[in-house]
């Protein structure tokens, strides 16, 4: 009887949690569709721009290194002459075994503003590479791009202008998949990204909540990170960790929807599975570290704290839901599904239609309306397959993070495979 009681209790809690997320997604969607939008500080024109160091971690990036460097050299940010220079480009060759090193040295010989770093000792991975580069970076503002990104000419200014606000610790731009034509997976990822940035991130910015720094197409104040020991090399989601480190110490993260940049989305389910599992593992590691801090920090208002908690536990929810599904199956076969009746049944239907189905759908559909791309919206029902796919791999990532925390195991960085064979892909 006690077990049945707890199974029923867990089931009800799952329903309530799912409904909470449904409300959150609905509020965000409503905000984007019907409420006044915040004006972008990207509308500011200022000639007093700070010196920026653009860091690009690279591990075996010979196929894409040209693309990102050429794009940055075209940027509308002074980089040409010594006296007027406001930008340096720091590509970080992190244990590359291909021709990345030669390519970077060729560019450095040709352009004074490119200062490559070659790493063949110490910790591997993006956080360690960024830590090393930050020590020698001249700029107070650090902007990070992954090697497969193609920044537009005005992107650096769009990002950097946010730091005129003295409270801003980090800024995040919008990422748009460039290889949507590859297959159904990249098309579905395109939908997810649209909903995530155009609606979710922007609504959080509008509502003064917590937009997330995403690790690339974004920037931060160097001193804030160095003063607190740099990036943690044992965390896979250094971007999430930075978001919560800043938020818990009173700094703002802002989202810049106009700072758009192309990225390459994974083209195979296997690579997407690895990526999402790694994200889940890293994000949940951050959850274990920051859950208590988030509850106790004095810098967040109640609504900000609630939203930050929901964002922090977002990669826990598939696990909660998977257990909830198993729980409900158990209750069904035990003949114990008579938990509630009457109008309360609507609560259960609502829960069913939240996390896995309609809730993110609102956001994706709205994003497509805002982006004026109507036809791709027809693919929305196919996202339900992604949901079950993620349910499985995020759960794996969660349990890996639990093992990491319990055994103090050090996670090793895994690079996402590139598909582009040279060029910009645009």
């Amino acid at each position: 009887m006690v077990i049945i009681f707890f199974m029923k209790l867990y089931f009800v809690i799952t329903v309530l949690v799912m409904l909470a997320y449904a409300v959150r997604h609905t509020v965000f969607t409503y905000n984007r569709l019907y409420q006044p939008q915040k004006m972008y500080c990207q509308d500011i024109l200022s000639s007093d721009i700070p010196f920026v160091s653009v860091l690009i971690p690279m591990h075996n990036e010979e196929l894409v290194a040209h693309g990102v460097l050429d794009a940055l050299l075209r940027c509308d940010y002074p980089a040409d002459t010594e006296g007027n220079r406001k930008m340096e480009i720091v590509p970080i060759n992190d244990f590359s075994e291909d021709k990345t090193r030669e390519i970077l040295d060729t560019y450095a010989a040709k352009y004074d503003c490119i200062h490559p770093i070659h790493r063949y000792s110490g910790d591997r991975g993006k956080p360690a590479a960024l830590n090393e580069a930050m020590k020698s970076a001249k700029g107070q503002i650090i902007v990070v791009f992954d090697a497969d990104y193609i920044p537009a000419r005005g992107l650096l200014r769009e990002l950097v202008v946010s730091f005129m606000d003295p409270e801003v610790g980090a800024v995040m731009g919008r990422v748009i998949p460039v290889n949507t034509e590859a297959n159904i997976l990249t098309r579905l990822l395109d939908l997810e990204r649209s909903g995530g940035y155009q609606v979710d991130q922007q609504a959080r910015y509008n509502l003064n909540l917590l937009p997330q720094y995403g690790g690339t197409v974004g920037g931060f104040r160097k001193d804030l990170i160095l003063a607190t020991g740099g990036f943690k090399v044992d965390i896979l989601a250094e971007d999430t960790e930075l978001t919560y480190r800043l938020a818990c110490s009173g700094w703002k993260i802002v989202y810049a929807n106009t700072a758009e940049c192309y990225e390459e989305a994974p083209e195979t389910w296997e690579i997407r599975a690895r990526q999402i599992r790694r994200w889940a593992r890293g994000h949940n590691e951050v959850m274990f570290r920051y859950f208590g801090t988030l509850l106790s920090t004095k810098y967040l208002r109640p609504l900000q704290r609630i939203d930050a908690l929901m964002l922090l536990t977002i990669y826990l929810m598939p696990v909660v839901l998977l257990l909830g599904l198993l729980d409900s199956l158990g209750l069904f076969f035990l003949g114990e599904m008579d938990i509630i009746d009457g109008w309360w049944v609507l609560l259960f239907i609502g829960a069913y239609n939240t996390f896995g189905n309609f809730a993110p759908f609102f956001e994706v559909g709205t994003a497509n309306i805002l982006d004026a791309s109507r036809q791709r919206m027809f693919l929305l029902p196919y996202l339900s397959f992604n949901f079950y796919f993620y349910l499985w791999f995020i759960t794996q990532g969660f349990f890996e993070s639990v093992v990491d925390v319990l055994t103090k195991r050090k996670a090793s960085w895994q690079k996402t495979v590139r598909f582009r064979q040279g060029g910009t892909g645009v």
């Binding site: 004006m39 003295p166 758009e260 029902p381």
Partner: protein, 333 residues
């Protein structure tokens, strides 16, 4: 009975499958398969309208200054009239107009399409025009209206009570008089109703800008505070107070007479400057900005911005070095 079961099963299968059909068709037809468009060459340019218009008009090199009428390609084919020899009394212009010399226009003229002037141009009072690009100086007579944009390569002077629906810009100097309404202004120097007194010019005060202070809600009269400040509620700079640093305010911000901020200002609500104030950097508000007389925004030889979502009100003898933008209504008292 078996028919009902069969129909129910068919209905079930249809309901399961139907939502996927439009997506399946889209996957086959690939009507919307291209990635979202990002303009890789996009750079913010406050004089974009004029630059783009002139590029389209002059870029191909096919424009002849001698022909009285010719076809040009903008977003579509347009007729361009060379209007140096105006028909006496002509006040209405239905086509694109090209002035090679300074024209004599009549009050109340109406231009339905864009205007391109190679030399100085003066629009008399109560002119209605869609858009105008001038290679030299331009003057807009009182009570005129610009439906889209107006730009001068050198100086632009806008007389009283003009309505500037979208944008007014100049390459060197913009003078704008009282009663005007605007949304976007740009020039290296914008003088509003005579501009601020140059004698009152900015005196930078030494002070540290390190650190971030969160527990301040005002600066006493005549006091100098160094460092960046974030105020969760309202914030006041009393008379003659100086902040050497940038300021973020979640409540209302009030700058009493003569107070200064030697940095940038970000406000979530209303920002009021009572007069004689100086903001050295840019000022940005999610609410309104209301500036009293004699204010200076920005500093010489630099571009700074005054941006507010819900509206901007300027008073007399104000100078802005750079850019002004609002999504609401901008007005000059």
């Amino acid at each position: 009975m078996s028919i009902y079961i069969g129909l129910c099963m068919l209905l079930f299968v249809l309901m399961m499958v139907l939502p996927f059909v439009p997506g399946w068709l889209e996957m086959r037809r690939k009507k919307d398969v291209r990635h979202l468009y990002i303009n890789g060459d996009f750079v913010r340019n406050p004089r974009y309208f004029s630059t783009s218009f002139k590029q389209k008009l002059l870029g191909t090199g096919s424009l002849s200054i001698l022909k009285e009428e010719q076809e040009v390609m903008l977003s579509k084919k347009e007729i361009l009239i060379q209007a140096d020899k105006l028909t006496a009394g002509q006040k209405k212009f239905e086509n694109l107009v090209f002035f090679n010399q300074q024209p004599e226009l009549l009050p109340g003229s109406v231009f339905h399409k864009e205007i391109y002037a190679r030399q100085n141009i003066q629009f008399p009072e109560e002119t209605l025009l869609r858009a105008a690009a001038c290679e030299e100086n331009c003057r807009l007579g009182k009570s005129s209206r610009v439906i889209r944009w107006i730009d001068a390569e050198r100086q632009m002077e806008i007389a009283e009570n003009c309505q500037l629906d979208l944008s007014a810009t100049a390459g060197e100097h913009l003078l704008i008089a009282s009663g005007c309404r605007f949304r976007r202004l740009y020039a290296p120097m914008i003088d509003i109703q005579g501009g601020a007194s140059r004698l009152q010019q900015m005196m930078e005060i030494a002070g540290t800008q390190d650190g971030l202070q969160r527990d301040v809600n005002h600066i006493e009269a005549g006091q100098v505070l160094g460092g960046n400040v974030v105020a969760k509620g309202d914030f006041t700079l009393h008379e003659g107070a100086v902040l050497v640093g940038s300021l973020k305010v979640y409540g209302d911000l009030l700058l009493e007479e003569g107070s200064q901020i030697q940095g940038n200002v970000f406000g979530e609500k209303r920002i009021r400057l009572l007069g004689g104030n100086w903001i050295r950097g840019s000022i940005f508000s999610q609410g309104r900005i209301e500036a009293g007389p004699g204010c200076i925004f920005g500093h010489a030889d630099a571009v700074e911005s005054v941006v507010a979502r819900n509206g901007i009100v300027f008073s007399s003898h104000t100078t802005v070095y750079g850019f002004v933008l609002t999504e609401g209504e901008g007005s000059i008292l």
